[in-house]
């Protein structure tokens, strides 16, 4: 970041590319295509909806990376952020 970058708040496009690629390759390598992700998402919604009402708008499920203690360092992880509207009784 240089002096002039203060006026230019936009992230460098090379960093954008790097971040996009990292995520993309994790899902490519784990063999998870969008259709499978959609199925996983629907199944999770179906299961959780039995017990609580969830906010479908705010739902976010994706494959990311996480550190592991194993020899591979980073491993793919399923990340799910499921906001709850109300717990059913």
């Amino acid at each position: 970041m240089g002096l002039f970058d203060i006026f230019n708040k936009k992230k460098a496009s090379s960093n954008v590319a790097k971040d996009r690629l990292k995520l993309l390759l994790v899902s490519d390598r784990s063999n998870c295509n969008p259709e499978i992700m959609e199925q996983i998402k629907n199944d999770i919604i179906a299961v959780i909806s039995k017990y609580m009402e969830i906010d479908l708008e705010g739902l976010d499920i994706q494959i990311t990376q996480t550190d592991s203690d194993g020899p591979n360092g980073k491993v793919p992880a399923l990340y799910a952020n499921i906001p709850i509207k109300e717990v059913k009784h």
Partner: protein, 263 residues
């Protein structure tokens, strides 16, 4: 001992054919006996990049189908007598040749040549399978772009699944001015993402277009790309050559504005 190298990328247009032509030319300059095989059946290109398009009589499919002997199909380079091309067929399709037939063909060429370099077509179908069938090692060519790197990653996975474990990377068409501005991924970024061994980087050099116009590869010339290719050639042969500085000569104004950007 001869070595069989496949040049591949997944994505088209990243510079596989140019790379094949230049590595072959470079190896021949260092007195190695080299044959380049164009495995892109239906879309013949390597002959044009080498300037040998007018000398083709027989092609890869003719050899495989037994219409001629291998020696009849091999075309000697204009400049380097140790460099040969086995051209592809223009009017056939990829299914004209099988991986088994490629293995037999390459095995026969091993007696004659130090290096057998296969120019792989884009994609991951039949043509790719033919090209990698007999390879001892692979060189994956990519550009510092999201699409090219994604495809390269997929190719690396497929190569490993096919038992090719010696895989090196060439980052092609890199523009240091854009890298410095933060508008292009750096060589380190690409290597970091793909996590395979870097064997060289080639700058985006207009001399490549000029050389392709003339049908004379740049390897060994004084151009930036020519020097980069020659260093890759030496690394292929096992020499330990450090990665060259790809920076262009920086003008006064660029330097001045650089002063304000550093911290």
């Amino acid at each position: 001992m001869s070595e069989v190298i496949v040049i591949t990328s997944g994505k088209g247009g990243v510079g596989k054919t140019t790379t094949t032509a230049n590595l072959g030319t470079g190896l021949a300059q260092l007195n190695k006996k080299v044959v380049l095989i164009d495995t892109d059946i239906g879309l013949r290109n390597l002959d044009v990049v080498l300037g040998l398009e007018n000398r083709i009589v027989y092609n890869l499919v003719d050899v495989v189908e037994g219409n001629c002997r291998i020696k009849q199909a091999l075309i000697k380079d204009k400049k380097y007598p140790e460099l040969y091309l086995l051209p592809s067929a223009q009017t056939r399709d990829k299914s004209s040749v099988s991986p088994e037939q490629m293995k037999i063909l390459v095995e026969e060429l091993k007696d004659e040549f130090d290096y057998i370099i296969l120019d792989c077509p884009a994609g991951i179908e039949q043509g790719f399978k033919n090209a990698i069938a007999s390879a001892d090692r692979a060189i994956v060519v990519t550009n510092p772009e999201v699409s090219a790197i994604r495809d390269a990653d997929r190719i690396v996975g497929l190569l490993e699944a096919n038992g090719i474990n010696k895989i090196d990377l060439i980052v092609n068409k890199i523009r240091m001015d854009m890298v410095k501005r933060g508008d292009m991924m750096s060589i380190d970024d690409v290597v970091d993402i793909l996590a395979i061994n870097l064997i060289g980087a080639v700058p985006d050099d207009e001399n490549i277009v000029i050389s392709t116009n003339r049908g004379e590869p740049v390897a060994g010339t004084d151009s930036r790309a020519g020097k980069a290719y020659m260093n890759i050639v030496r690394r292929i042969m096992g020499e330990d050559i450090p990665l060259e500085n790809l920076d262009v000569n920086i003008g006064f104004w660029t330097k001045l504005s650089g002063l304000f950007k550093k911290n």
